[in-house]
Subunit: 343 residues, 2 copies
DNA sequence: ATAAAGTGTGGAACCGCTCCCATGAAATCC
DNA sequence: GGATTTCATGGGAGCGGTTCCACACTTTAT
């Protein structure tokens, strides 16, 4: 019944056509140097002519590896597809992997069942290594994979940092730069809308805020700190509370652009002008940052680079746990002050 | 050097522990009925005890199939991750596939090179079938895959419709319902912002608009039609042109919510009240629809169901080309008229 | 009772590839 | 010039499953 169309061209056929043994043909296709130029050419011609494509399963079985890498995003699909973080990350990872001829497999476990399925998937040999992002809290997965001897690289500092190889972006430094920028523009009452304090990025950005104030000789003030959940609504509410407590504030550093956007709304409602009365700096350099009004000064994270670095790390995953910390870049726009203002 | 950790547990080990042959052990694990209850239990126990996980490559090599299905989205990653269409589609596909224990592999070819890579990937046996969405124009891929004997199901009617198995959503019907709804609310000068006319959905929604007018006995009027590119800005401009040509219009049907949102902006600028002066209906039931002001009446597409149907179709892909057309549903909100108005 | 059909099982071939090892020819050495 | 090394090559043994086939043993029909 089945269309015997181009019924499977195997290495055997190629070898036959090239008048060499299967072993020699295999050497040519695996770039083994011990082949005479004639044989090489003959095999290459035959392979091209027949449209030969090596059978993945057979190769994987013989070599013991699949030449594929899994990217595991443990986040609800709806979130994955809303956040510009992931396309950037994937682009970075994809670049490096493509150059090394590895296949990227995207996995988004949604449930505990999916997690188990995932472990079997990897253990069954589908992928040679795993890239893990947006882990929440202490997660069993990286440990279990590691126990099976499967290389894992985590994106973003995990809770048990010293156990795993990971790549992180310098959240403290990013926040520090943002707040220093505000201080340099002459702001003296700099408040912050921090992220959730049970997430490393949330904590680190608050730390960066504080140490920048200290470095600038500005007083630390608990009343100038308000935390929210990275959403716009959360930002609006937090800004309202800050205005109540510190009506004379002249700057806000928000730990995400969404929260910054919320802050902008609240500020507008309360009649404050941005940046004349209050300067605002966000975080992430989300597309919303450039299109908000006024355009938002923001901390840009090297997410593509993080992807690249994760992929690189995984590829030479035989090494002992390593870590890489990347630095951010401040995107200055109108929201933090007039362009003519002194730097 | 390599950690010989739990050095690969094979079927051989399981068989040994269960005191049966490898053949019998295999029968148990492939749900072959010709096994005695005792053997079955013994094998199951041994497998569990050893934490046995079948090697994928070996199984694929022996059976000739991989139990995986590729979803190919030929769209820039940035677009994929912006559009709520894809998570919904993936959810639908995932449901059906998970129930049948198939693995979903996401592929997003970005270039011609990627396309070639993709073909090799599938031909190499990584996946048993391909789901294809957002094809633009006449695309060589489905044909080439089909020529290799690989089952393909296309999402959205392809240009060469009768060659492939596909699932589509009834764009004509959706537009028809939207326009009928407007007419039922007493609107008489119903204009439309149509999508690009080189895309089937763009064309079909315009057709639906026209046939609804006809059905309602309203005159067709070329001046009441303006096409745009599915974006908000395009919608704004198109609305402006419509207002110039037909200042007395009392309704607009936009072929996407983004364009409808643009139309709302232009209408507000021109001082028209929605829905009192002009009723508006969009398409897609995008999240922006519910949060725009006023909330947008829109055509909701059964995207999850489309995913499910695509997966089902692929799974029994031995059949002759088939097609399935799904119907839409009108989401009535404020933009198309007061709730108290007569239906 | 004897033949026929049905059951559970193990041996072994096979899927398509890689790679170790033995072999013979050519190149290098003393 | 003979011994040794180098090199390309083919044979063949796996990799870890599935499945055909033959076999011994029951069960059922005649």
């Amino acid at each position: 019944m089945k269309s015997a169309q181009n019924s499977k061209i195997t290495l055997e056929h190629v070898a036959e056509m090239a008048r060499v043994s299967r072993a020699t043909a295999s050497r040519v296709l695996t770039a083994n140097p011990r082949v005479s130029p004639e044989s090489r050419r003959a095999v290459e011609r035959a392979a091209r002519k027949l449209g030969y494509i090596p059978n993945h399963a057979a190769r994987a079985l013989a070599t013991g590896h699949s030449d594929a890498v899994a990217l595991v995003i443990s986040e609800p699909t709806s979130l994955i597809f809303g956040d510009p973080f992931f396309p950037r990350l994937i682009r970075g990872i994809g670049e490096v992997l493509a150059a090394r001829d590895k296949q990227l497999i995207l996995l988004a476990p949604q449930s505990g069942t999916d997690m188990d399925r995932l472990e079997r998937f990897v253990a069954a040999g589908h992928s040679d290594g795993v890239l893990l992002v947006s882990l929440h809290g202490v997660h069993p997965l990286p440990g279990r994979l590691a126990a099976r001897g499967i290389p894992v690289v985590v994106g973003g500092r995990p809770a048990e940092a010293d156990l795993f190889t990971y790549v992180d972006i310098d959240n403290v430094g990013g926040a520090f730069a943002a707040v220093t920028h505000l201080a340099a523009r002459g702001r003296r009452s700099i408040t912050t809308i921090s992220g959730p304090q049970d997430m490393p990025p949330g904590r680190d950005r608050l730390l960066g805020y504080r140490s920048a104030l200290e470095a600038e000789g500005l007083p630390l003030d608990e009343g100038a700190e308000e935390s929210a959940d990275f959403t716009q609504e959360g930002g609006e509410r937090a800004m309202r509370r800050l205005l109540e407590r510190r009506p004379s504030l002249d700057a806000v550093f928000a730990a995400s652009d969404l929260m910054a956007a919320g802050a902008l709304r609240t500020l507008a409602e309360s009649g404050r002008r941005v940046p004349d009365d209050v300067a605002v700096v966000g975080y992430d350099d989300d597309p919303v940052a450039a299109s908000s009004s006024p355009p938002l000064t923001s901390v840009r994270q090297p997410i593509e680079e993080m992807g690249r670095e994760m992929a690189r790390l995984l590829l030479d995953a035989m090494h002992a746990p390593r870590r890489v910390i990347l630095t951010t870049e401040l995107q200055v726009r109108l929201s933090s002050g007039r362009a003519t203002e002194a730097m």
